[in-house]
Symmetry: C2
């Protein structure tokens, strides 16, 4: 009986992973984090998608020290900027976020007898977020297993996929309509196709076009 | 200019580390975590000791999923038990605690341009807490550095010390009186020598006796 816990934000990537996990594990649950992100709609969509798929979804509040380290993703007063130089992180970076999420998810998973986490992070197209890289995930898996004295795996099915390939995966899983219409990726909080102008929308929509073109 | 951030709880070990860091770094700051621990007095003592030593002390609230994973350290209704079998963790274990603390401390340290964390954990005498072991700390250092894309060191001056040796270190640092009278280790919230009966008091007092005997 293979059980997995999916880290679900309500965006394109984690929602695709939710259905990937549903297809690849016997039982799945999902966990979401309320860390003061600008757009609560993202978590509401996550809850709705999980409910319709019959997957238990637990949401917990988490502090992100955002009073100490301001960023555009939790602040209402900082505008999202395009990445300026090669190698510099965007101002939507929430420092330490994935390490915090992984730790809480691990604690929750252990309490449920679950040994597998599933996350929508990836290092293709992902604009310099250090905590989305495979090297970080592999290290975090090791640290988490030691912290909890409990063997944990972390699956990242999108690690090496482009956005177009992520759309392709959704297609294979038969959930393109859900991903297209019931997820929020846009930094400006516009559901589905989004505002079209923020970096997240540009990436998502470019991927969609490539995927559509590849289908011919 | 070597700068360090000390993870300070207000107990014997972290307070000893505060003074160890003061003696070994040019500038130090301290961070504390309010995670719903039973005895707020511990953090108050931490604040007092930091203030008297002229060290900036920042306290942040942190969730520990204690609604999900109950334990005797944050619950008012669970009694602290002695460890039953070899290899089993005590019911004062707060799952994932040090991994969460290390992540927040790392985010805070990076925001201040600090590359060194100092923690009072150790694997001698430490009753099976998996996240006090050196193997965990070494792995966490690696994961944290990757998460933040920022080289971080974690110093654990008590890792291989017995409680008697920790008293000896306080003596060498000239702070035995502070550690003896102004720290809280007791699970029942009794300052200094404590209740004398809980596992933490027994360990602390046994170490004290050994240290006194070794001085002859």
């Amino acid at each position: 009986m293979k059980k997995a816990l999916v880290l679900l934000s309500g965006g394109q990537d984690s929602t695709t992973c939710l259905f990937w996990a549903k297809a690849n594990f016997d039982t799945i649950e999902a966990i979401g984090f309320d860390y003061g992100q600008r757009h609560k709609l993202e978590l509401e969509l996550a809850a709705q998608n999980a409910k319709e798929a019959g997957i238990p979804f637990y949401v917990t509040k988490v502090s992100m020290l955002t009073d100490i380290v301001p960023n555009a993703l939790t602040s209402q007063t900082i505008d999202v900027e395009e990445v300026v130089g090669e190698g510099s992180a965007p101002n939507t970076l929430v420092e330490g976020r994935n390490m915090i999420f992984i730790t809480y998810a691990g604690v929750y998973a252990k309490s449920k007898g679950i040994n597998n986490l599933v996350m929508g992070v990836g290092q293709t197209d992902y604009s310099n977020y250090p905590d989305c890289r495979d090297e970080f995930i592999q290290s975090a898996k090791q640290t988490l297993s030691l912290a909890l004295d409990y063997q944990m795996e972390i699956y990242t099915p999108l690690m090496w996929k482009s956005k177009a390939e992520t759309w392709q995966l959704a297609d294979e899983l038969g959930v393109v309509d859900i991903i297209k219409n019931k997820t929020l990726t846009c930094y400006n909080g516009v559901i589905a196709d989004g505002c079209g102008n923020c970096p997240a929308c540009k990436l998502r929509n470019k991927g969609w076009q490539e995927y559509v073109n590849s289908k011919g």
